[in-house]
Symmetry: C2
Subunit: 230 residues, 2 copies
């Protein structure tokens, strides 16, 4: 049997953009939508908490939770007893929507109508499935810790057998994904520009305070260098 | 017929706490749950964006959106053409879950397992309904603007008839509500305390930059005092 013709081509690389779908094309402000992986990854990697949406008894539930990213996979974790994680274990998985949002500025326009927020958000639709492979579970848990502080997984005690048994890990492929970004100043109507109200943007940013050692931290353990990068 | 005995008591005030329900009692970390209105209101009033969850074609959707609060009512708005806002207009309204989260700190434990985030979140379950009363619509839009910057609604041009016609306002009563809060340092196992890893908390806060005037702002309009309060 001869090899299929495609076997002579180079290996397929992941395309640079996510394919838009009916669910990821916004009904308005379509110019704010982005589908390139680089933009999506940057927004995901900068946030700490995502909002996990799922359906329970026909009604929506939205919970904040930590996450980690490895390539084109998002990992979430939780107690094996938690509701969404139990549902993910069932075939065919749990339909979810995961959303991550950064607030970058308060946009004050001359008109109440044009007030807005500068933001960057990512919305992921897909099916969450429980991870059962032990190696993937361990690398997912490392990714979750390193998502909080890059480099931290290697500087902490890995999960032991009891902790692993208590922890459920679920995965969500980054496939049906979009980012939405608003930047810049207010979009006032020309007729409003002569009004006496101030207009502009108040920048908003997430900032870090000096690390606070735990009350039970033994003396002589210095603040690690990787925290200085924050 | 004599009046019932309760008629001689003082008028019923809103109780100081929300009544927990099966949906608002967490399956784990129940000690982090709070139901008092003061705590819930403070968390809601400090954030800019909520995550609105609803069900579309049987699947969850989670979108970031602005909101305002008036007493025990949350108001959201959007284009009259947007999907959740159209659904809210239909009887009997749209089942939603609205979640607001603040990240207050990165919690680094000796063990990977006990890494966490200090956070404050509010989860609201309920039915979103379109507001049709014009006076309530106007006060809701004022609340949305004042939520971004208190005092700003009075210092901007109110919505005109065309803008009002393009804007849908939905309301969600604060009834089935809970807050969840984590504070403090890592909860390491005693057996881990002798490990050489640093442990503690990196505080995270939202901060504001100096206001940036719009490019089309006429000279001579000073930055308003209410921005100094941010």
């Amino acid at each position: 049997m001869t090899a299929p013709a495609t076997s002579t081509t180079a290996p397929t690389e992941a395309p640079a953009t996510y394919q838009p779908t009916e669910r990821t094309v916004p009904t308005r402000s379509a110019d704010r939508a982005h589908y390139d992986r680089e933009t999506v990854h940057a927004i995901l990697d900068e946030a700490y908490v995502c909002h996990l949406g799922f359906v329970r008894d026909g009604a929506p539930v939205v919970l904040p939770t930590l996450y980690g990213r490895v390539g084109e996979t998002l990992y979430l974790h939780g107690s094996t007893g938690s509701r969404p994680l139990r549902s993910s274990a069932a075939d065919p998985g749990l339909p979810v929507c995961v959303t991550v949002t950064h607030v970058d500025g308060l946009v004050l326009a001359k008109s109440a109508f044009h007030h807005s927020i500068n933001y960057r958000s990512v919305v992921i639709h897909g099916i969450a499935r429980t991870v059962t492979d032990e190696a993937e579970r361990r690398s997912a848990l490392d990714a979750l810790v390193d998502h909080v502080v890059p480099g931290r997984a290697a500087d902490s005690r890995p999960a032991n057998a009891k902790e692993l048994a208590a922890t459920a890990v679920i995965r969500l492929d980054l496939a049906e994904v979009s980012a939405k970004i608003r930047t810049g100043g207010p979009n006032d109507d020309p007729a409003d520009l002569s009004l006496p109200h101030w207009s502009g943007v108040v920048p908003v940013a997430q900032t870090y305070g000096a690390p606070v050692p735990a009350a039970d931290l033994a003396p002589g353990i210095a603040t690690p260098d990787y925290l200085a990068a924050l």
